[in-house]
């Protein structure tokens, strides 16, 4: 295995006539925490969604552990099991209890025995402080609790990479912290993480590298200190002076 877990090569995505990604090439190292920032509509979400094939790239290639995932012969479900994703709107399953949300995929797709899956789910719930909600339905949870559930639902599949798309943008301010704490803890565990976020303080604190995506290209990338204190590109500068 190489040190590079994900690599994109000239990634292009069109929606009809609209070119949203205009050639993105980058490499993500195993265990790296990468924040993606940039103006709205710049293509951050689309980039993330191409990585787990929620969007099919129009052109270019994505390699996962040197395997081309745009290859038509790839088993997409198996691939997605290795890439966890957390959405802005949580997208927990309302028709299942908290525990069932977590054990669903391990039991069905990985054939983990039910008791084992549940024991692991309980351990995960304890890790994020939701053990007493195991048998509740999601409608009884707050936004922050739903998002923590969504995170452990993804972790239950033992992914090699976690993708976060603005995980705190739909939350009331008082719940942002509890979710960011969980993600921070995850960054310390050695997980490879890509996170699209508008929480600049958080990005600066946890990431190894920051990508600035604007108009479908990475216009600048670098260490958090470099990007946040001395951005080189005018668009980065403009964006940061607006949000900071």
């Amino acid at each position: 295995m190489t040190d590079i877990i994900l690599r994109t090569e000239n990634l292009v995505k069109n929606f009809g006539d609209l070119q949203v990604l205009r050639g993105i090439s980058t490499e993500i190292r195993r265990g790296e925490v990468v924040s993606i920032i940039g103006p709205s509509g710049g293509g951050k979400s689309t980039f993330l969604r191409c990585l787990n094939l929620l969007e099919e790239p129009t052109e270019g290639k994505v390699f996962f552990n040197d395997q081309d995932i745009t290859d038509k012969k790839l088993n997409i479900c198996e691939y997605r099991q290795k890439i966890g994703m957390v959405f802005q709107n949580f997208n927990v399953f309302p028709n299942m209890t908290v525990l069932e949300n977590i054990t669903l995929a391990p039991i069905l797709e990985k054939k983990v025995p039910k008791e084992e899956a549940e024991a692991e789910a309980m351990a995960l719930l304890r890790r994020v402080g939701l053990e007493d909600k195991a048998n509740e339905y999601p409608r009884k949870l707050s936004g922050g609790q739903k998002q923590r559930l969504a995170i452990v639902r993804a972790l239950a599949m033992h992914p090699e990479v976690m993708l976060f798309d603005e995980p705190t943008s739909a939350l009331d301010p008082e719940m942002v912290k509890e979710v960011l704490n969980v993600i921070t803890e995850l960054t310390r565990s050695g997980m490879t993480i890509l996170i699209v976020t508008h929480e600049m303080g958080f990005a600066r604190e946890v990431s190894d590298r920051v990508l600035f995506i604007c108009d479908g290209v990475i216009t600048e990338e670098g260490s958090p200190d470099q990007i946040f204190t001395s951005p080189r590109h005018p668009s980065t500068n403009r964006f940061l002076s607006m949000v900071l």
Partner: protein, 219 residues
């Protein structure tokens, strides 16, 4: 009033068997219509462009022509197409099922379409297969939209089966015709049939409202 009670006393069995006919004809129509409707909806939502086009045309035709015309069409056409001793009731039932399938397939499609797009994405993102995504995540949520609409379709069907009287298939309107022809008391027998229809649908729509409340409570 006297005439109505007089009629009821003498002919209540005719009306009862008519009601029975209406109910089972409606029930079978909705049950088989649902089965066929699921197949049509699958074609409509599937990947194949050809199937999509075929089911599109199927639905458009059935929604764009009168039910009575469709009943005649099957009643005359079916025995020619498939030579077999089709009874009138069988022909009419098949026509009603085909008609209902068009509406029910749209109900199913709308019910599935109303499930949040994020649910599909979340299911995909944890690596669920297509079948499991559908059976474990999407359908359990879609059913809450589908069931009330399906009950509504049942009510519509109860009224729709009255057209079967044109072919003298045993149901409530046919009972009216039978009694009216025997007694020449058209208005009173029509009133009786009307009251029965109303009561049946009133009860059904109350049950439907109950069901809807139950479904929303569990959200």
């Amino acid at each position: 009033m006297d005439k109505i009670f007089g009629l009821l006393e003498k002919y209540y069995m005719v009306f009862l068997s008519g009601l029975w006919g209406t109910l089972w004809l409606s029930a079978l129509t909705v049950i088989f219509g649902t089965v066929l409707g699921i197949i049509v909806a699958m074609g409509r939502m599937g990947k194949s462009k050809i199937l999509k086009a075929i089911t599109d045309v199927y639905i458009e035709i059935l929604r764009g022509t009168p039910v009575l015309l469709q009943l005649y069409f099957v009643w005359i056409g079916l025995p020619k197409l498939i030579p077999f001793e089709w009874t009138d009731t069988q022909c009419i039932l098949i026509a009603l099922v085909i008609n209902a399938s068009a509406y029910i397939s749209e109900i199913i499609r709308a019910g599935i379409g109303a499930v949040d797009k994020g649910q599909w994405e979340a299911a995909k993102s944890i690596g669920l297969s297509k079948v499991h995504t559908m059976t474990r995540v999407i359908m359990p949520q879609a059913i809450k939209n589908i069931l009330p609409a399906l009950c509504n379709e049942f009510i519509t069907t109860v009224k729709g089966t009255s057209l079967a009287s044109v072919f003298f298939v045993g149901e409530l309107m046919t009972s009216y015709k039978t009694v009216a022809a025997a007694t020449f008391l058209q208005l009173p027998s029509l009133t009786i049939a009307g009251v029965i229809y109303f009561v049946v649908n009133f009860v059904l729509s109350r049950l439907l409202r109950l069901l809807e409340r139950r479904l929303t409570v569990s959200d």
